[in-house]
């Protein structure tokens, strides 16, 4: 039996917003849940995030956006993923996001959207299931 590899996650903070408490909490929680987590730090440009995701060969990319610019940033992300050839990864967006914008984000290729008051176990569960499906 081959040992199951740990899930690899990139947590990124795109844009200029410096509120990283939520992102850092996710990083620690996912690590506690046995995943390998790479955190980009603040003020990441989208091309750098996509590049890091390819280089680190992660299964999951999670972006934390609290500044309200989630649609624009996600649109940039999906265009850039296309350009650099990121391929199939589980894409998550977290932050202050109203219900009615969730379909818009999904249409841009986001797999899961999580509000700021989401239960952490829900996110962990979502990642495990999603990564399994990706194969």
């Amino acid at each position: 039996m081959m040992e199951k590899q740990a899930i690899r996650v990139l947590i990124a903070k795109p844009g200029l917003d410096g509120h990283d408490r939520g992102a850092k909490f996710i990083v620690r929680s996912l690590r506690d849940a046995g995943m390998e987590v790479i955190y980009t730090g603040l003020h990441q440009r989208i091309p750098e995030i996509v590049r890091a995701a390819i280089q680190e060969d992660v299964d999951v990319v999670g972006m934390s956006i609290l500044s309200g610019a989630y649609i624009d940033l996600t649109r940039k992300f999906s265009a850039e993923s296309e350009r650099q050839g990121l391929g199939e990864r589980l894409i998550l967006v977290g932050g202050t996001i109203p219900e009615e914008d969730v379909p818009k984000l999904k249409a841009l290729g986001v797999d899961g959207v999580f509000g700021v008051e989401t239960d952490i176990d829900e996110i962990i569960h979502f990642i495990r299931e999603g990564v399994e499906k990706l194969g």
Partner: protein, 551 residues
């Protein structure tokens, strides 16, 4: 007397309390929990010496307040933080709030401005005008204060990385209005050290940033003496998850760092310390928050007097601006936040703050609507005019519980500061990421408790109602207004005397390489309509950029 009470209390414990089961309670003072007794009595505070430890308002150690008559003399400044989209729209909101009784302005800037980008930079276009107003050149600042006479209001600017540039612009606007610098009042946040740890709008590395701050302090001391050049902040640590003890301790250690940097230029403590101001947030634990303000006043007075040998009592005053902490608000059932904000505002006022900001109940991060912004102001007005709490100074003074907590907090902060100072100087600790980790550890524990329900949040993890998630409305700036802003920046850049701008920037670069005070150069550049981004790029060329230590 003390012995008699203790004896009786022991008897009471045995006779009455032992028959009544009760839960234990902890103070959330620090990472280390402190047990809170079920009852406080005179013997709990028997070691306190009234004249020395509590004293009278307006006299060191200022436990009961920094002014003798406090709110009987005049109310705190109700300073509602606002600013969004463009200078025109923010100008309108300022005027609306002033009509409604807001006493001081408080400007929120958008992230590009805070990070030193102009609105016309295509890389950051999606963030222009989103969380605050966009300011790229002096032109924007002129519009922001159109029709607002700067000698009649005081303005607070939440700006750090480019605080010196914004200060220069504000002074330039005053000059155009014909208001002498000596009559301009207000505050720039200008506390860069906490940005590396908690808020993230740093640009340059800590040491050159520190120089810029000392430049503003020195400049204001000489040229704009009514202006507070720095607001040393504990609040952002707290919002980022730190404990109450950390909030105070980090703030004070940063304060010490700034003071030492100014003293290094050979300036006397009593020349500038009266112009330092401080910023806290309040959270929900009413009595702990009130005690925090009292403890901080007492501790800071001791530090300034004993460590820095200040003689002027004004140097020892802990002038504090506080705000309700957005971090404890919930998206679920937003009306509940009105209750929370009332408690947090009350904590500030009973704590004796000099100015307060009550956030809007329907924003956890976003821009408040006119209605919700008004309710924040109304909260303060109701407390000021209807509740009678302004009728006497430090009305809780003497309460066994409050006095016990005040001393406890003071001691805990002192201990924690000593511990940290043994590990290194604040700048080094930040460069190493030590403070960041220290804080993240506590934030993580706290968030876990909240998610597991161990820490009850009403409407969120206990007593949820069916329609708990109200519709969240995210502020989307008016695209047309943003386009106008971008067009304006381009137009200003096209129409100004570009040669002069280049000349000013060159001079600035030269000065940055030396040790001169940069403020006059900045003033000269903004007056020539040099933009925020141009100035930042020039300085970045000399100072370099800060990279966050990896977590």
């Amino acid at each position: 007397m003390k012995e008699k009470i203790t004896k009786k209390k022991d008897r009471w414990r045995e006779k009455c309390l032992s028959q009544a089961p009760y839960r234990s309670a902890k103070a959330e003072l620090s990472g280390v929990d402190v047990d809170v007794d079920i009852l406080y009595t005179p013997d709990s505070i028997a070691s306190i010496d009234y004249p020395q430890d509590i004293g009278f308002p307006g006299e060191p150690p200022f436990t009961r307040g920094i002014y003798p008559s406090m709110y009987r003399g005049r109310l705190w400044t109700m300073r509602q933080y606002s600013g969004f989209a463009t200078a025109e729209e923010s100008n309108k909101r300022f005027k609306f709030l002033m009509d409604q009784g807001n006493m001081g302005l408080s400007v929120a800037f958008d992230l590009p401005t805070q990070m030193g980008f102009d609105s016309d930079n295509p890389e950051i276009e999606e963030e222009v005008g989103r969380v605050g107003v966009a300011i790229s050149t002096l032109k924007d600042m002129e519009i922001l204060f159109e029709g607002i006479p700067l000698h009649k209001v005081t303005t607070s600017f939440t700006i750090n990385g480019i605080a010196s540039i914004i200060l220069a612009m504000y002074l330039a606007v005053a000059e155009k209005q014909g208001v002498p610098f000596t009559e301009v009042g207000g505050t720039i946040q200008n506390d860069i050290l906490k940005e590396y740890v908690a808020r993230g709008t740093y640009i340059f590395p800590p040491r050159p940033s520190l120089r810029l701050i000392v430049d503003t302090i020195e400049y204001c001391m000489k040229e704009a003496p009514r202006f507070y050049p720095i607001s040393i902040s504990g609040g952002h640590f707290r919002s980022g998850g730190a404990s109450l003890i950390q909030e105070v301790a980090f703030m004070m250690l940063n304060g010490i760092t700034y003071i030492e940097a100014v003293l290094a230029r050979g300036i006397d403590i009593d020349e500038f310390a009266p112009r330092l101001s401080y910023l806290f947030v309040t959270q929900l634990n009413l009595f702990e928050e009130i005690a925090k303000f009292r403890a901080s006043r007492r501790l800071w007075a001791h530090i300034i007097k004993e460590r820095f040998k200040a003689k002027d009592p004004r140097s020892m005053m802990f002038r504090v601006y506080a705000a309700g902490c957005g971090d404890v608000l919930t998206h679920a059932e937003p009306e509940n936040n009105i209750v929370r904000l009332t408690m947090m505002t009350l904590a500030g006022i009973l704590g004796g703050v000099q100015s307060f900001f009550t956030p809007a109940y329907d924003e956890a991060y976003e821009i408040p609507t006119e209605k919700s912004a008004l309710l924040g102001l109304r909260t303060q007005q109701i407390l000021a005019y209807e509740t009678g709490i302004t009728n006497t100074v430090d009305p809780l003074g003497g309460s066994y519980y409050i006095e016990w907590l005040t001393s406890k907090i003071e001691n805990e902060v002192r201990k924690y500061m000593e511990e940290l100072e043994k590990k290194g100087r604040m700048v080094e600790l930040i460069e190493r990421g030590f403070i960041q980790n220290e804080m993240a550890r506590i934030a993580y524990e706290k968030t876990k408790k909240k998610l597991s329900g161990e820490k009850v949040v009403v409407g969120l993890n206990k007593f949820q109602s069916a329609q708990a998630r109200e519709k969240l409305q995210i502020y989307q700036p008016d695209r047309e207004a943003i386009s106008k802003q971008i067009a304006r920046v381009k137009r200003v850049k096209a129409e100004r005397d570009n040669e002069k701008v280049h000349y000013c920037l060159k001079r600035l670069e030269g000065a940055a390489k030396g040790t001169e005070n940069l403020m006059p150069y900045l003033l000269e550049t903004v007056k020539a309509y040099g933009s925020v981004e141009e100035i930042v790029n020039t300085l970045r060329g000399v100072f370099g950029e800060f990279r966050e230590p990896v977590m």
